[in-house]
């Protein structure tokens, strides 16, 4: 059985917020699903949740939701009873892995209409002792580290990612703290154009450098905030796209993921996010694109910028620039239209604001990124729409897990992008 073509026909993203006091995780999932159905139907199609044949749920952390197997409770709330629903949990990369699995549902012929939905609601965690939320959220995440050898050392997400960034700096002399600060400027700034973003802000290099130290050399403004949100995509087979008269289907042309060694100390080089490299190469190959020319082959990239320095390394590992040139690429292109990863640059990265600008609602994040990239290719992203969509192709990137062990890369194309070289 050969693969069937799969399109994104609906995108629904709730606002990313520090906390929803008026919604539970399943109520948020309902909102995103409703938005995705509305988006699908806006040109005359008339599908309801009853037409969706299966669901793939991206939910990272049971401790956030205070509910093990949260997917089955969403399944009930969405009225999806007696249909297949599968949960994906792959750390920060949960969203990308969920898109990959939902793609497989449709490409394989198991479903013609599949709901791909991610949700996370982390900020119900609360530390009574300090009277604060974030340290308890971080503790819920820290249980994702190896419990025997790593958790007892006080390992957490930031100290895990910073290890690769520091080792990369030792090897290549970048990213410097200033170069990382430019990512913060870019993504907080892009978020000002995105009404759904949690952290729109004007920041300067100095603001970043003097923000609170988290773990050397990451400062507060280098790090994304944990967020609450849901994001949903409706994926359809080619036949359904025709049947429903979808005007701007966005085709998924490449999906790939790679799990690298979760023990950073086992890796050949500590300063690499190998998962990025393997996932990107495989996704581009599936889409018929070239790792060495990818920057010229796509219009926009929604990257997983959990931490500023890790976005810089990702420029290199996703093939945008050679190794060691990520830091200079963003620094030297500051305020130079047509250059670098800025929203008016040669390859806009995270025009939505990414995680640093929007917030990180873990299971929802990679689905938001994929949805945002699809809206860009439809030229319907709103104020943060990039100026030129000429190649008709975009990528969405997810990374996560202990030592950033999981990565997924999704390549999408509009009708024109399918055939352009």
């Amino acid at each position: 059985m050969s693969k069937r073509r799969v399109a994104i026909i609906g995108v629904g993203i709730t606002p990313f917020r520090a906390r929803y006091l008026d919604k539970t995780y399943f109520e948020l999932a309902y909102d995103a699903t409703n938005l995705a159905l509305d988006d699908t139907n806006k040109n005359g199609a008339q599908i309801t949740h009853k037409d969706l044949e299966s669901t793939v749920y991206g939910i990272y952390n049971e401790l956030f939701e205070r509910q093990f197997m949260p997917d089955i409770f969403i399944n009930s709330y969405l009225g999806m009873n007696n249909k297949p629903g599968t949960r994906i949990a792959s750390g920060g990369a949960t969203g990308g892995y969920t898109v990959r699995m939902a793609y497989s549902e449709v490409a394989s012929g198991l479903s013609d209409l599949c709901l791909c939905i991610g949700v996370e609601k982390c900020n119900d965690c609360y530390d009574e002792k300090t009277g604060t939320t974030t340290p308890e959220v971080l503790n819920a995440i820290a249980y994702s580290a190896d419990m025997t050898y790593e958790y007892p050392m006080g390992m957490m997400a930031a100290s895990s990612y910073v290890s690769m960034v520091n080792a990369h700096y030792e090897e290549f002399g970048n990213p410097t703290e200033e170069q990382m600060a430019y990512v913060s400027i870019k993504n907080h700034g892009n978020a000002k154009l995105n009404p759904k973003a949690q952290s729109p802000m004007d920041v300067t290099v100095e603001d970043v450098m003097y923000s609170r130290i988290i773990c050397y050399p990451f400062k507060m403004l280098d790090c994304c905030l944990y967020s609450e949100a849901s994001a949903a995509l409706i994926l359809a087979s080619e036949q359904k796209v025709k049947e429903l008269g979808i005007e701007k289907p966005i085709w998924i042309t490449g999906v790939a993921a790679a799990n690298t060694d979760c023990f950073i100390g086992n890796r050949e080089s500590v300063g690499r996010l190998y998962s990025n490299i393997y996932a990107a190469k495989a996704a581009y190959k599936m889409a018929g694109l070239d790792y060495n020319k990818i920057k010229e082959q796509i219009d926009v990239a929604e990257l997983h910028d959990a931490f500023s320095g890790q976005e810089v390394i990702s420029y290199e590992e996703l093939g945008f620039v050679p190794f060691g040139e990520g830091g200079p690429w963003i620094e030297k292109s500051f305020e130079k239209p047509g250059e670098g990863p800025w929203i008016d640059g040669e390859l806009p990265c995270c025009p939505s604001g990414g995680l640093i600008g929007c917030g990180h609602a873990v299971g929802a994040t990679g689905i938001m990124s994929t949805g945002e990239a699809a809206l860009q290719l439809r030229q319907e992203a709103g104020k943060h729409q990039v100026k030129t969509i000429e190649k008709g192709r975009a990528i969405a990137h997810s990374i996560g897990g202990p030592g950033a062990a999981y990565a997924a890369v999704i390549v999408i194309a509009n009708e024109e992008g399918l055939n352009k070289p």
Binding site: L21, D22, L63, R66, D124, D127, E128, K129, T130, P135, E136, L138, N139, I141, A142, T148, Y149, E150, P152, M153, G154, M155, M156, A158, S159, V162, S163, M164, N166, A167, E170, R212, I213, I214, C215, Y216, P217, M220, F263, I264, G265, N266, V270, G271
Partner: protein, 167 residues
């Protein structure tokens, strides 16, 4: 539903599970650490790769490994100093953690890096370090039974009443 004057209701709750967790095939590592201040790695019978932390099977060859006693010295591959962290560790900031490759090991392990002067330059890549152990009565057969210090600080750390050097 759009309620005016919405009022949320929050409940207090916690999830607690207790364990008596077996370290399985790695048990010997923790027993030797606790009882004899030994740091054991494993060596693949087939390819000779030395795993640290130890694995009783080589993940590359799918072969068994043998226990090998490791030196207590090594180098820092990469480190960071943590200033803001999880609720479980927030009382301990700032603290240093590092991936340390013991001499004769082929892999690096995460461990605490302690220093009288905990600044990035003191715990950077290439720094030689040596293991310091908690006193016998405080060792529990956990990774927190030991930590590393820069080699030039070793004597002052093992002179402290709560710590001791290895054999």
């Amino acid at each position: 539903m759009n309620e005016q004057n919405f009022q949320s209701h929050e409940i207090r709750d916690r999830i607690v599970i207790q364990y008596k967790y077996t370290m399985g095939g790695q048990s010997k590592f923790f027993l030797e650490l606790m009882n004899n201040k030994k740091i054991l790695g494993t060596k693949c019978k087939k390819c000779g790769k030395v795993w640290m932390p130890p694995r009783i099977n080589c993940s590359e060859c799918f072969a068994d490994t043998d226990w090998v006693e490791m030196p207590h010295t090594g180098i820092i591959k990469v480190s960071t100093i943590v200033w803001y962290t999880t609720s479980a560790f927030i009382q301990s900031v700032p603290y240093g953690i590092a991936f340390i490759q013991l001499d004769k090991a082929d892999t690096g392990m995460l461990q605490g890096i302690f220093s009288e002067n905990l600044v990035p330059s003191k715990v950077k890549k290439g720094q030689r370090v040596k293991a310091v152990f908690k006193k016998k009565e405080d060792r529990e057969g956990k990774m927190t039974d030991f930590f590393f210090v820069p080699e030039d600080e070793y004597d002052s750390w093992i002179a402290k009443p709560q710590y001791e050097g290895g054999s």
